[in-house]
Structure formats: C-alpha cells, structure tokens
Symmetry: C2
Subunit: 457 residues, 2 copies
C-alpha cells in the first residue's frame, strides 16, 4: 500500500583541499558511532531524542482534536519559534497559495492565522480578521511560559472571555507539556481542551508532534502521509551503513568537513515558492541546534529562482565561504507558456514556447547549479518528485537526522539552547518580573556600550 | 512644512582587535574621497549612480499613472529581483497586514499581487484571484528581456487577449528602459501605457523610480513622503563631514573593518513584522552590489523577535563571524495587555500587566542587544520613531548610500553584476534559445559533477 519514496541527493564536493573524499572516509567510524548513539538514545526516548520515534506515533487523539478544530471558521495558533515555524512550513508547502483569501468552498478547512511575533500591528490585524465566536485558539508553548506566547494568550483570553463569558474556554486548545507549566494548570482549571508535547522532544524538532500536526490536520493536510514519509526515510537511513550510501551520513560529513575548511554558511535554497518556509524551518533547526561552543555554520535562507536575482552574484563571485544546498522539484502543476508568439515585437522570445513555467524553474535550478560548480563552489543538489505530504515528511525527518548527526560529530549537544537564557533574563528584568530586578542595571550597562558611537540623524 | 527626521544610529564595535576605532579613523581620508566621488558621479548622472538624484525627481507622470492604476480592482505586477523586491518591501511596511484579504472599504486601493518567481502554482493561484477585465497588469523589466518576467508576461498577455481582444492592451502598463528593449517595442506597437526607468539607475537601486513608486502610489502609499524622507537623509549626510558624525560613513567603515577581521556576514534584524521585507530588500542591495572579486559579506535576513527563537543561540554562542544590525521602532500601534490577571493559575504573569505588546517588542530588541554585547559581538542599533513613509524613504536612501560607499572603499563597482551572466547563458541554452546551443554540453558537464556522489533514497 505504501507509496515509495524516490528522492535523489547528490552534490559537487569541491574544496580548497582535493582530498575531501578521503577526509570524509576518515570520519566514517565517528559517523557510525554517532548513528548508533542516536538510535539507541532514540529507542530509550532520552531527553531531546524523542523525535526519532515520532514517525511511529499513534495519531488518534490528534486527529480527534483536529476534527473539532476543523469545525471553526478560523484557527488562530499562538506560538513562536518551534511552536510556529513548523506550522508555517506545512501550510506554505501543502495548502494552496493565498489560502486564507479563498472563499470557503475552495478551502479544505478553516482559515489559519499565526500570532507569533510580539508585534501589535499584526496582532490587531489578526483579531480584525476573525469572529471570535467562530474561532478556535490554539496556544502552543512547551514550557507554558514563553513570554510572547503568554502575552498574546492573556490578551486574547481576556477578549474572548469578555465576549463569550463562561463559554470562552470552549474556544481554546492548549498544547503544552503533559504535566507541567502554567498552560497545563490553565487547562486543568478551565477544562479547556489540551494536547501534550512529548517530554523528550524539543521545540525545533516538534513539527511532527501535536504542535505541528493538530492544526495541519484541521486545515486538510494529510498527517498520516507526513508520518509515512518520515517513516520511510527513517527506514531507508537505518538500512544504509556506508557513508556514500547513506545520504544523512554523507551530508553530515560534508557539512562538518566544509565547516572545518572555513565555509561557515549553509545556504538552503529550494526552488519553488512552496518551500520558502521550509528554508525558515531548516534555519531554526540548524542554527539553534549547532550554534554553540564557538561552532555552528550559519543557515542562510534563500529561494530559487528569486534569489538568482538577489544573492547569486555573491554566491558566484564572493568569498568561497558557503556550502549551497538546492532543492529541485520534478513535477510541478503544469501550465504551458503560449505555443506561438503572435506579436512581431516579441518574436525573440519564441524559444519560450512549448515550455511550461515549471520547466523553466527546474532549468533555472540546474543551470544555476552548473554555474556554481563551474565557479568551484560546493553544491548539494536534492531532488524530490513533488511537494506533497510524503516528501515533506521525509525531508523533515531527513534534516532532523542530519542536524543531529552534525552536532554529535562536533561533540555538541544538538538538543539544548543555553545561549538564549541571558536574553530572557534581560527581558524579564525590563518587563519588571519579580526576581529579575538585579539584571536591569546589567542591561543598561551593556546597552550603554551601544552608544560607543551614537549619531542622531 | 517638512517633518524632520529623527533617527539614531549607534553601536558596540567590538572586535578581536581593540584598535578598531583607530583603524576606522585611518580609513577617513578614503571615505571622504569615496563620498566626493559618489556625489560627483551622482551629479553627472553617471551609469549606476542615478539613484543619488531620485529624491529630487518630478513625480507628475508617476502619480498620473498611479491614479489610473488605482481604478482597477486588482494590480498584478510582473517582475523579479529589483523589479519586485522594493515593491514587496513598501507594501509590507506601509500597508495594513493581510491587505489583500481586506474588504474594499478597508483598503486604500486595489489588491496587489506579484508574479515574481517562475512557479506555476503561484502563477495559477494569482490568476484565480482576479477578474482580468478589472485588473491592471504592470510588467517591469529594465532590460525588457528578464526570462521569468517575459514568461509570465507572454502567458498573461495571451490570456488577457483571448478574453478582451483588442482592448487587452488597455490593461497593461510597461515599466522598462525609456528607449530600448522588447517591452519598449511592445508598448510602442500596442500603444499600451508605459513608464521609463532612468538609464543610470540599476535594478536593485530602483525602488524610488517608477518601478517601486507607481504601484505603491496606486495602493495608497504616500510617495511624496517617501521622497521627502530620502531627501532629508541625503541632506543630512551631505552636511556631515566627519566619520563619527556621518552615519553612512561610520557604518561603511565598520562594515569594511569587520569584514577585514573575518566577520563575513552582515545580519539585518529589524524588530517588527512590517520590516521583514526590508531585510529582503537590503539583502539584494548588499549581496549583489558587494559580492564580487572574492569580497562581499553575506547578508543574513532575520526578524526580531521571532529569530530570537531561531537564530539567537547561534549569534550568542556560535562563531564571532557576524556584524549584527538591529532596527528598533519607537512608536508602535499601542494596545495593552490585560491590566489585571484574573485567573489564579496565571498569576505568575502579573508582571506583563500594564505593558503593551509594543513595549514587549522594544524591550526584546534592547535586551537582545545587551545580551549580544555582553557576549562580545559587534552590534549596530538603529532606531526609528515609526514605520512610516518618511522613515522608509530615509532608510532606503541611507542603505543605498552605505552600500555604495562600502563598494567604493573595497575598490568594487557596486553597480554591476557580472556573476549572474553564466547562469543566464545556461538557462538560455536549456530553454533552447538560438545562439546558446554551445553551452548545453557545458551545463551537462558541470551538472555531471553534481553526481560526484549521488544517492537515491
């Protein structure tokens, strides 16, 4: 019954050092160890490693909840970072463009809005777009205390309660830690619906938990297929025990070696508007997992073919400091360019006839890869047959796997984020949270250095 | 009558080398020379330098054309790169969020769509959103031969002509070179409306020409105010003849020095959803202007506060390889968080009461800057009073100026883009354009190297 994955991943692995393949071979033993470690920890459901098991989870409760969500006119998900990016990625890839603009019969489910950034202009605009009495609010925070999310939630909760009184909680779904935190307490106290986020899964690895799947299913994305894709990818990766046969091993090794050679950026450049947010999702996964101990290549988000008109000049002739990944898509909704040019003055474009716009996009991907390779830049070229649930699920699992392997190869914990705590303490102090007053003077002290130069224009 | 600009630009200029201020002082003479060069070439309207004069242009014809555009139900702009990014930036910053979703009375003008990427899914979706008989199509390409733009144009032109016959050209506005190119010929042959792009202005510097301004004015953006902001910025910059008084000089110098010290990334991280596309616009300006001769720092697009939950870990604890610019906004549409927490289980968030969501966003900017500075990372902190026409105009001119100065300081021509030609030749060859057959085998040869490793999953 299963549709079978069929992706190809290849690349040109230039470097200043011609022995790069040998170097990768020398990494082989370490890669194998990292892989064994990853799978063992996954099996134990160790802290941070729980995503390894997500392709095999039972979806019953999530689908039940999604059925309820699907009955509203609009869904507003309140969350930030890992509690929003995965959703944005799924919606961007798997729903029609301009989804929220479409009349109801053309949509597969409710309209879907995110309250993510603490930006009052966006928040006010979202509230203006909905009728709260027909809206489901999905509040997502694993800790239950993410500042932006709680701020949005408190504000929305007051509005809904003012309007709907003691029916307000019937419009809320809380997705949070199964036991701990303020949102869990809130769910217990009000009796509103809730889903748990597995304790062993961190925010940036959580798209295949309730965090990503509940609202995705509600808007008509086939979440069984997402898991099927992830499962197949997992099984393929488990079968391949040679670096040059296992794409996750090969890519992890390539990334480690290129980083050592001074290429400190990992460009993610899918070709197709539907994968724009995939590059965003990747950027969080990569940046937050690997950016520690002075290590970490910087994820650079790009979009083909648009960034050929923005970043390609730099990629071609700027410093050789990037490993560039391009994702091409084989089948795109075909539609044909005119078969014949009728205007004399446009005759020079005859060569475009009998092509499709999709042909053009894939030709651009291939041509740009060739030009970069000719210029001696390392390129990874990944090709999927189509942008669909099964391939998005496969890509998600694949990049989670690669990221974790790179972290382990660099002796980094790819599942923590200690570096964001300082900023949080500072935010709490300026917001006046009890217990954080001591940091206020520190914020001012360091911010003062910002006026090392200060120019009023 | 003029509203006066009031922006502050400051920063913490750490580096491994404590003498960075001295180094910048040593650059002073070169900066002054570059500035004189820039203004002289601008005065002569030399090739590439024409943007220097745009703040002083006469808008009569653009406004006349915009009045005509404003009478349609929807505007579809066909363009890519510099012929789309500036428009996206203006619309994102200066129109309400979810603009196209709003009912007509809540909008200031027609709905606005871009056909930018050669992605058939998006193109089909845009066509489904409009009634061609009530739509104005704006085709933008300076050369008149940009492949993606022409492909979209040929396709749309056929559809509109099939539907509206010899009234079709009444729905088209062409924005292109005043004399040359296929689109100019098309405008002459059909008699459709047209605007010129000044010959001395390149694509990525063209947002304040007809390219950016015509549709902006049509959707209700005050383009006189945009120019006013640019003009005031120009005059302020012209008055300041000391590096540490002139923000463009200071920033250009900082960028050059940090690049020399190995910081090969320029992070642009505005705080506010309305400036997301500003970072995109900056990325093209910066990347395509400076990425040549093996030089060029890579623009990294970020968005505060969202990227605190995605990239901050890396910025804090990853390699010290970035110069990070944050843009804060003083006045945001206020709306208040609840004044009192009524639920016991949420009492721990009392500290959020009596703040606004806008306060939170600015506190996040300030706290994150402090945390980065404490971690020893160089930060530029720019603050504008509000996101409005005058400040967007000022920022545009400011960053164009800084970019050009950096190019001149590095002995780079910031107005060409030779590195994209190779890719274009390859695209033409695969598309079968006469005269480019010879490159086809070259594409295949270099693309073949892509299978240096190739793994079928």
């Amino acid at each position: 019954m299963d549709e079978l994955l069929s992706m190809s991943i290849g690349g040109a692995i230039f470097s200043g050092n011609s022995s790069i393949e040998d170097e990768i071979d020398r990494l082989s033993i370490k890669i194998e160890e990292a892989d064994v470690h990853l799978r063992e920890k996954g099996r134990d459901d160790a802290d941070g490693y729980g995503w390894v098991n997500l392709p095999y989870q039972d979806l019953t409760k999530i689908i039940e909840t999604a059925d309820w969500l699907a009955r509203s006119d609009a869904i507003v998900q309140i969350g930030i970072g890992g509690s929003a990016l995965g959703n944005r990625m799924l919606v961007n890839a798997l729903l029609p463009p301009f989804y929220n603009e479409l009349e109801a019969p053309l949509r597969r489910g409710p309209r879907f809005y995110l309250l993510e950034n603490s930006d009052p202009a966006t928040a006010a605009a979202v509230l203006n777009r909905i009728d709260v009495s027909k809206t489901a609010f999905v509040v997502v925070s694993k800790s239950g205390s993410t500042t932006e999310t709680i701020a949005h939630f408190l504000w929305v909760w007051q509005i809904v309660r003012d309007k709907l009184g003691n029916k307000a909680q019937e419009h809320f779904l809380v997705i949070t830690d199964p036991k701990k935190g303020a949102l869990r307490k809130f769910a217990k106290a009000t009796g509103c619906r809730s889903l748990g986020i597995p304790e062993s899964v961190g925010g940036r690895y959580s798209v295949l938990t309730s965090v990503g799947l509940a609202t995705a299913a509600a808007v008509g994305i086939d979440i069984e297929k997402l898991l099927l894709g992830a499962r197949q990818m997992d099984q393929r990766l488990a079968m391949r025990q040679q670096t040059w046969e296992n794409p996750a091993w090969a890519l992890a090794a390539l990334n480690v070696i290129h980083a050592r050679l001074g290429r400190n950026m990992a460009v993610m450049m899918p070709y197709g508007d539907g994968l724009l947010a995939f590059a965003e999702w990747f950027a969080q996964l990569w940046g937050e997992s690997l950016g520690k101990n002075g290590f970490g290549t910087t994820p650079v988000r790009a979009l083909g073919a648009i960034d050929q008109h923005s970043q390609l000049q730099l990629y071609m002739e700027g410093p050789d400091d990037k490993l560039i990944t391009m994702i091409d898509v084989q089948n795109r909704p075909g539609f044909e360019l005119p078969r014949k040019i009728e205007d004399d003055v446009l005759r020079e474009f005859d060569f475009l006839c009998d092509k499709t716009l999709g042909d053009l996009l894939s030709i651009e991907a291939r041509s740009t890869a060739s030009a970069l390779i000719k210029a001696g830049k390392p390129v990874v070229y990944l090709k999927i047959p189509e942008i669909s649930e099964i391939y998005v699920g496969a890509l998600v699992f694949f990049y989670e796997y690669v990221t974790a392997l790179v972290g382990l190869l660099m002796d980094i914990n790819p599942f923590d984020q200690p570096g964001v705590e300082q900023g949080k303490r500072y935010i709490y102090s300026l917001m006046g949270r009890p217990g954080y007053q001591e940091y206020e003077s520190e914020v001012e002290k360091y911010f003062g250095i910002c006026s090392k130069f200060e120019i009023i224009v």
